[in-house]
Amino acid sequence: MKFRTALLGAAAAFALAPAAHAERGADGEVKVFYYQAVSTLNAYLSSGTKDVEAGSLVLEPLAGFDQDGQMFPRLAAEIPTVENGGVSADLTSITWKLKEGLVWSDGTPVTSADVKFTWEYCTHPEGGCAQGAKYEGIASIDTPDDLTVVVKFEAPKPYPYQPFTGGTAPILQKAQFEACLGAAAASCTEQNSKPIGTGPFIVTDFKVNDVVTLEANPNYRDPAKPAFGKVTLKGGGDALAAASAVMETGEFDYAWNTQINPEQQAQMEAGGKGTFVNAFGTLVERIEINMTNPDPALPEGERSTVKHPHPILTDANVRKALSMAIDRQTLVDVGYGGAGRPTCNLVPSPAFQASDNTECLTQDMEGAKALLEGAGWTDSDGDGIRDKDGKKLSLVYQTTVNPVRQDFQALVKGWWNELGVEVELKAIDPSVFFGGDAASPDTFQKFYADVEMYANNFDGTDAEPYMSQYLCDKIPGPDNQWQGENINRFCDPAYDALLKELSTTAGIEARGAMVMKLNDMLTKDTNVIIPLVDRGRFSAKSNTLDGFVMNSWDTELWNAQDWTRVK
């Protein structure tokens, strides 16, 4: 609702004073706060979302995503499709046409050679490119003329838009980065912190992990934009300080990712200096069930591997009961407020691929108890914990150190205790949990616990790579240094078959229907994944900043060229 009000407000302001913003740089300075400070502006070497977003003020991809997840051309003249002949009928190539007359901020023309170079830069074997997955499966790139780029794939690609779209895959200037290929990428400090781009702003000063100062790009393609002549992108601190700097003290115009607790959201909003803006994407906080046995008594190398199925969680009734006992709305009210909403889906949006699975939204404690009772899990020895065949319903529940997650742990533990399940809680430092170090026992991949909670999402709107994480051959284990993505050790031939079909199907509707089916197989059919909260992007915006539109499909700064100051 707030989001819509903000939009209407923006539209109204625009209608009233259209002439006031018609000059580049007329609105002075805009101050932006990223509490995780910016490390580099080169998305290909980035260490997180914050860098990608900051870089998007300067560097642009061929096409971006708008607030509804619809693709729109940035450097490209139009979006290639099978209908307009841009995508070949056999789905093995896509032809992008650049806009005419585009120039870099240094005044030189943007050509197809820059696009091809970007692909070479990111796929260089020694470059360590963070966005390598965006360029997978490309056989070659042809540049028949200065404005045409033909991307040829090794195999038919039903979704050919991965390369060069979205803030994670911007185009670099060949002339600037030519000397930075491969191992040299990291030592190109000047280039990485002051890239030459096509975006609305250019970097004037870059202090690592601290502050980036930018000014309007004199060669930006729309002569009337951006309205702001200067951007200060400050970093450091925490979400609370970030929110406060916009909503309470008014020191900043916009603060990224201001996840704070619901009471404080309400209090800060009452101050009247700013509003929180949210938009929902694909980030889902979930409890993952371990289908294998994490018992510490098992020899190292066999713990949590497919050799030993989980003694209690392989019972589908137990998994279902665990899900039924959770009150998701309470979790949202306690932890996220406007930044979350309850969900039963792994893929909650966009609409064309979101399953209408809402059964889990109402807590059903009695139903869950009856389900366990019926499945033979009873409290036979009177200690309050259900058991069956000498196996107790006792779980280790791990997550990262994070105040909201610890509250969730405490609440869920309460519900599960009521259900007759014993729960031991464990919280792990996030740098260890997500660190992927094969020697550490505490990574989420190793999963030395019965259930674990974290959030994950996918890039852009295409869910195929995301769903393919749950294939049988992606199960982590000692043989692949625990690097698989199938965290639950879920394995179902029917799932694998359906995913294979998805990888050869074109057409948004058909693909969406398949994603829904895959989603249901993981959630409501088997409860191998217990989705909890659909976490939106949640940022703070000053009331004096106009034209800001929240976007959960691309970077939040995607339309910085349209921002203006309320007069």
Binding site: P125, Q131, G132, C188, N209, G235, G236, A241, F434, S440
Partner: protein, 335 residues
């Protein structure tokens, strides 16, 4: 004294080498990965390539030797080049942060000014407050001044800075709006207006830190002066009719300062290291904040370089404290 200094300096070299190795191994052993901040959407194969590009997949000893070479040879060459416009380094690989891909010394250069201004000022003010309070408190033991001074010092030390800091921010910056909550590192003092802005943004962190530092130092000062006031030489001095001021300032002070000097000298490296917690609360992007940030993302080259520089400073200030000991207290002989 000179030969003692030289001997200690020589002895410091193996110590520092050992320290650098221990730090390297420790940081390396510590759990965590430089890739933990990368979104989960990045697949494992890409992660492996990123690690390889950082050189993080090399054996520890290889990385250590490379770091030694970079720290003691290549970085000084770049330093000389920067000073004299020469080109000795010839583009050799510098120590580069894994997280930001920027030379670590560039980061330190960017961070040093704000750390020195805020933490340095706070330390100086802290010492300037602490010495008179400590001395006078001891001289007038159990007087109301002593009681008040003691309470002030105790309170300064007892209340955690992240408690006082947050409360000061809530009252003075958020509710009253007198001070900014975010420290502006781009601000340079050019005129009265910017001077005022600078003082305003420094006010809260300097207050918190200065109180904390003053508390500790004034305790040591008081305790040390008290000790000396009971010594025979003080009685002798008084007995021969020397004025109280002279007794206190000339005899007692000189002797009491010995342990105080140690405490002050030992605390000085923290000026460079920044008060990590305070920098965090007041959003000052100084060296302490850089170190914490690097530890959080397991940015090994940055952590290693910054902590090693701390180590060098600590060893240096220990040496300075020892030399001052010798100057101030002739009873201690270094032979």
């Amino acid at each position: 004294m000179l030969s003692f200094t030289i001997r200690r300096l020589l002895a410091a070299i193996p110590t520092l080498l050992l320290i650098s190795l221990v730090i390297f191994l420790l940081v390396d052993l510590a759990p965590g990965s430089p890739l933990s901040d990368i979104p989960l959407t990045v697949p494992p194969e890409v992660r492996q390539k990123m690690l390889a590009a950082m050189g993080a997949d090399q054996p520890v000893m290889v990385r250590y030797v490379l770091w030694l070479k970079q720290f003691f040879w290549i970085e000084p060459l770049y330093g000389i080049d920067a000073l004299f416009g020469t080109d000795f380094a010839q583009g050799a690989q510098r120590i580069i942060s894994w997280q930001s891909k920027v030379p670590v010394f560039q980061i330190i250069g960017e961070r040093l000014p704000q750390t020195l201004t805020v933490v340095g000022t706070a330390y100086l003010i802290g010492v300037l407050i602490a010495l008179p309070i400590g001395i006078y408190s001891a001289y007038r033991q159990y007087s109301w001044f002593d009681q008040a001074g003691t309470f002030f010092a105790m309170a300064g030390f007892s209340v955690p800075t992240f408690f006082t800091g947050n409360i000061l921010i809530l009252i003075f910056a958020v509710n009253l709006g007198w001070f900014p909550t975010i420290y502006d590192t781009n601000l340079t003092v050019t005129d009265w207006a910017s001077m005022k802005a600078m003082l305003l943004q420094m006010a809260l962190p300097v207050t918190v830190l200065a109180l904390f530092n003053a508390a500790e130092i004034s305790r040591y000062t008081r305790s040390s002066v008290l000790e000396n006031l009971g010594q025979d030489y003080v009685r002798t001095a008084r007995a021969k009719g020397m004025g109280e001021g002279k007794v206190l300032l000339k005899h007692v002070l000189r002797n009491s300062l010995i342990p105080v000097v140690t405490v002050i000298a030992l605390g000085l490296p923290t000026v460079f290291g920044g008060a990590i917690v305070t920098e965090q609360i007041f959003k000052i992007n100084g060296i302490g904040a850089a170190l914490i940030g690097a530890i959080n993302v397991s940015d090994l080259p940055t952590v290693q370089t910054i902590t090693f520089i701390f180590a060098v400073l600590i060893v240096m200030f220990n040496l300075i404290a020892d030399i001052l000991y010798g100057i101030l207290d002739p009873r201690i002989r270094y032979d």
